[in-house]
């Protein structure tokens, strides 16, 4: 599928050299846009995963005072549209932070990172909770019987199993956050979709517009498809 689309586009470009030159001219600009998507999704996943693991552990805490806020957080932000959260962080956070008399700029792309890290953390929390709960409790007792302390049991017996179970859903989450980065274009972050709009407005040729947006779809597809294939493979291997 991707191959045949690629072949068709290649043929089109060979048949229309001026168009090919035009695309070549704009390609670095589009690539710079896409690097922003990659940066935002990587940082959002990093922050979201760190916060999510902590929240997931909190959701299983014995103390209600610890458990309740985590559950409420996850409920609200799992159900909130990504776009709404990106708007929230963009409009609520200041454009610069004053720390010790220094003005640190707080650019829109960083706000988009946080806007996506919030839903990522809520989903990562659910993944963590699910993975922790999926380990049969007798394993804890067995570990204790073998002389492991609770921390050791967690470190050597429970977590390695959790990691394997949590990996496929975590990768699904990564793909969905990566695709969510396109939403940042709506708050003025200069990413791929934004770059494509700029390019098509600047050139203002129908065939170039078509080609640019096909390229945008293609870029996201090439980025997400291998991840989703790998996820499927891992899922199948774990199901056995």
């Amino acid at each position: 599928m991707a191959g045949s689309v690629g072949a068709a586009v290649a043929l089109w470009l060979v048949l229309d050299p001026p168009l090919a030159r035009l695309l070549l001219e704009w390609l670095p600009y589009l690539a710079r846009g896409f690097s922003m998507n990659i940066l935002i999704s990587a940082l959002a996943m990093l922050l979201g995963t760190l916060a999510g693991v902590a929240l997931g552990a909190m959701e299983l805490a014995q103390a209600r005072l610890v458990r309740a806020p985590a559950i409420a957080y996850v409920q609200v932000f799992r159900n909130a549209p990504h776009l709404v959260l990106i708007f929230a962080t963009t409009y609520i956070f200041p454009f610069e932070i004053v720390a010790f008399g220094h003005y640190i700029p707080f650019p829109d792309w960083m706000k988009a990172v946080i806007g996506l890290a919030i839903p990522a953390s809520a989903h990562a929390a659910e993944i963590t909770r699910g993975a922790l709960q999926s380990i049969p409790t007798p394993q804890w007792d067995a570990a204790k019987g073998l002389g492991f302390s609770r921390i050791e049991a967690l470190r050597f017996i429970i977590l390695p199993q959790c990691l394997r179970r949590a990996l496929p859903p975590w990768m699904n989450l990564a793909a969905s956050i990566c695709m969510g980065t396109a939403l940042a274009s709506l708050v003025g972050v200069h990413e791929l979709l934004h770059a494509a709009t700029d390019a098509s407005t600047a050139v203002s040729r129908t065939d170039f517009t078509v080609l640019t947006y096909v390229a945008v779809l293609f870029a996201f597809f090439l980025f997400c498809y291998p991840v989703s294939r790998l996820t499927q493979r891992l899922e199948r291997r774990l199901a056995r």
Partner: protein
């Protein structure tokens, strides 16, 4: 009603929240319109996505390659590209090509609203189709053989044996997809469909009350999604076959 609104504004002001826009009939109208639009979008796209998902799942599991191949390609393309990019692609590219073919935008009956409904429904349909396919493949082969032995055609087996069972297996995933669908409707903002996010943005750029409207937005979407999840759980309970898996 008027008094209640005034009381609410005063009460909110006391804890530092600015809901003054509720006194402006124009803004209230736009805001309520936005909520209604979102609800209409959800009510329209849920059945459309389910119908699309069932058809796609039927095509995916078909033994005719000319049917299964394109369906698979469509599902993979849809699942691995952002919905917003798909929406911009259809509105800016496909719609433009249609307009050109019809000799001008004034002859093109399709607008942003149509493309929003189409893209969201078809995107979620692909997600449903994958869930249903998993369910269909989980139906024991002996059951299908038995049905065929009773003289059912391929399509009849799908309709009366495979789909009802697949639906039960796939329900949790489908409810998850529907929650996703509700959240996806916000991309209507990008093509100026006046759904609740768009309406809220129009108000907060005038009044600078982002936090206030954000709270409402979060409550609004939590409410819809809670309802969707509850409904899904109720359907799940109703359809549960005692002793059959799950």
């Amino acid at each position: 009603m008027q008094d209640a609104v005034r009381d609410f504004i005063a009460l909110a002001a006391r804890i530092g929240l600015n809901f003054d826009f509720l006194t402006s009939p124009f803004e209230v109208r736009m805001w309520l319109d936005g909520m209604a639009t979102t609800l209409v979008l959800v009510a329209l796209t849920i059945p459309l996505s389910l119908a699309g998902g069932i058809s796609l799942a039927a095509a995916l599991t078909s033994d005719r390659p000319w049917l299964a191949g394109p369906a698979r390609a469509y599902v993979e393309l849809t699942r691995n590209t952002p919905t917003l990019v798909q929406l911009m692609f259809t509105v800016l590219v496909v719609n433009m090509l249609i307009s050109q073919a019809l000799g001008g935008a004034q002859n093109n009956p399709l607008g942003a609203w149509f493309w929003l409904v189409a893209v969201v429904s078809l995107h979620v349909a692909a997600l449903h189709a994958e869930a249903l396919r998993g369910g269909i493949e989980a139906v024991p082969a002996t059951m299908i053989e038995a049905a065929r032995g009773l003289g059912f055609s391929r399509l009849e087996v799908l309709r009366v044996v495979e789909l009802p069972l697949a639906l039960r297996t796939a329900l949790p995933a489908i409810v998850n997809n529907l929650v996703n669908l509700v959240k996806l409707t916000t991309i209507g903002y990008a093509v100026a469909v006046n759904e609740i996010t768009y309406a809220s943005l129009m108000i907060w750029t005038q009044r600078d009350n982002v936090v206030e409207l954000m709270i409402v937005l979060l409550v609004f979407f939590s409410g819809i999604n809670l309802a969707v999840a509850r409904l899904g759980a109720a359907v799940e309970r109703r359809l549960a076959v005692p002793g059959f898996g799950q």
